[in-house]
């Protein structure tokens, strides 16, 4: 499932990140790394950007970038 499709308040595990290396490095700092848990916190009134939480860090990225992050629901 795409990360951008994650519903508000739901939690998932990051599987794969399909962004170029430069962008991936930037997301790395925020903890966007395969294997980490990600929670969708809230969306802007325009549906993009979307706020996510990983560990103690809340950040927002745009929908189109979030669509390139593959996640998987916790079983």
């Amino acid at each position: 499932m795409k990360c951008s499709e994650l519903q508000v308040g739901k939690k998932a595990k990051i599987k794969k990140i399909d962004l170029d290396e430069k962008k991936q490095m930037k997301l790395f700092h925020l903890g966007v790394i395969p294997g980490e848990d990600i929670i969708c916190k809230f969306k802007s009134p325009f549906h993009t950007p979307i706020a996510y939480q990983i560990k103690g860090c809340v950040f927002a990225i745009r929908e189109e970038d979030a669509a390139l992050i593959e996640v998987e629901h916790e079983k």
């Binding site: 930037k26 809230f42 950007p49 560990k55 103690g56 860090c57 990225i61």
Partner: protein, 597 residues
Amino acid sequence: MYSLIYQSPEEEVASDFVFLEKYDLAIVVADATNLERSMEIILEVLDVTDHVIVCLNLIDEARKRNILVDPQELMEKLQVPVIATSVKEKIGLQELIETMNKEYIWHPKEITHSPKIERYCNYMLPKLSTSKKGVAIKLLLDDKLEKKYELSSETQKILRFYRKYLTKMEIKESYHDYAKTINKDVIERKKEQEKREDKIWNTLFSNRWTSFPLMLLLLFGILWLTIYFSNIPSEFLFEFFQSLETPIYNLLSFLPSSLLDPLIYGGYRTLYWVVSVMLPPMLIFFPLFSLLEDYGLLPRIAFNLDAPFAKCGSCGKQSLTMCMGLGCNAVGVTGTRIMESKKMRLLSILTNVFMPCNGRFPAMIAIIGMFFVQNNTFLGSIYSALILSIIILGGILLTFLITKILSKVILKKEEPLFILELPSFRRPKILKTIYFAWKEKALHVLVRAIIVSFPAGLFIYFLANVSIEHISLLNYLQNFLEPFGQCLGLDGAIILAFILGFPANEIVIPMLLMIYSGGTMLVEYTSLESLKQIFLINGWTILTAVNFLILSLCHFPCATTMLTIKKETKSFGYTFLAFLLPTCLGILLAFLVNLLF
């Protein structure tokens, strides 16, 4: 700052310092509420120097949020002093100072890297005669360290190979993997308590029905408080300075009147006008704004406005620079550094002037108070704030429009990643915030206005009192500009005042009053209200006031801002464009308004 394996300019500066400079001790201040994120930089610093103290700040906040961090365990793992602190609650600060002064046998834990990096370090470290792996790793990042070591050509060859072979990402991952082994024993996140404040604000700010009304209300609220509470101190200051005028005049009466008159009627009068009209709004606006900033509301505004800005080729962070511009455009221009994309930075710099800064909106308030509503009543101050809000919204609209147009013209293909951090809300220390806002912001702006206003007052006095064939220089200038002013529904004096206000926008209205009164400002007035009479005598109508407001919003940035733009863009072309763009737009708008009404 999250890593010495840098990506941003500030990280590069920090990285260079840690690797290249000499220091006794490195203190890594980590956020205890989000230690996972700081762990990598802690390890990176440990990999460079032995002398490290780790400071776990915001420990009280972490406890509140049910995040258990174990400093003792972290100390075991790293073998360096770890101190839990809270600056707000004054926890651990004494301990930190004591630790800094203590003698230590520094022997921190060695970091194990990925096999690939270990192999590289095994090869490289003997050549560098150091045991710190970080030094070898820095050699991979850039060649700044290379000069320090005289590497043989063979070593250099191998270094080149590893630079290609080991990516930054792999180095980061290596630190990250090691950090993970520490994190799992040091940090325990129990069912995390989301702060109620965060929950309420986040809901309000992301809901489509409440977010925009809320933001508008905030804008209006700040402006209203500024208008309402600055009226009385303004009048008080005005009367106070005015009452000092005669005593000062008498005190200095030993001076010849050819010197004393310009000093008092030119310099002093302009000066006190600026101080009494500009100071109270500044003293109210800057702290209010700082409080909102410290509380953490601004990133939420950027979050909500990202989508519309994206449509115009920019991003939500532009709204942050606009907020700064509301305080001071020069600060707003410098503030564009928060944007990574060069193109978006340029767009923000060129449009920042459409946010009326603190040097301009008090003048707008004064004009609104004279021609549209009475400022000094409760209801009047509300109307006044409403009108000012509408003007600022107009500025925002222009910003969107011009950004959109410019983004089509400035062709730079860039697709940067938009990341906005949304830190949790933190109640600021009110008195401290007010103090710093006054000291760092208001005072700074005021001093600049004062420095400019006194000589400007003298200059105008000089212009008014030196005549050629019985017509003063001031009149020449005024008459020369008159036809142009008429086209815009204004007059020559107003145009001249705007031009003279180039060093600092604060002096536009006092300059105007000086010009109207023939350079002496010798007009009997008892209150700010009665200034209206001077304008009326000089043929002002509602239309003049409207056009004045338009031109206030849209004209060239002040001298300080222009210099800042030159510094930030490093281009005369763009600086010139920043001058031309709002000026032409203002002239066009005023011309159209004059034509239509």
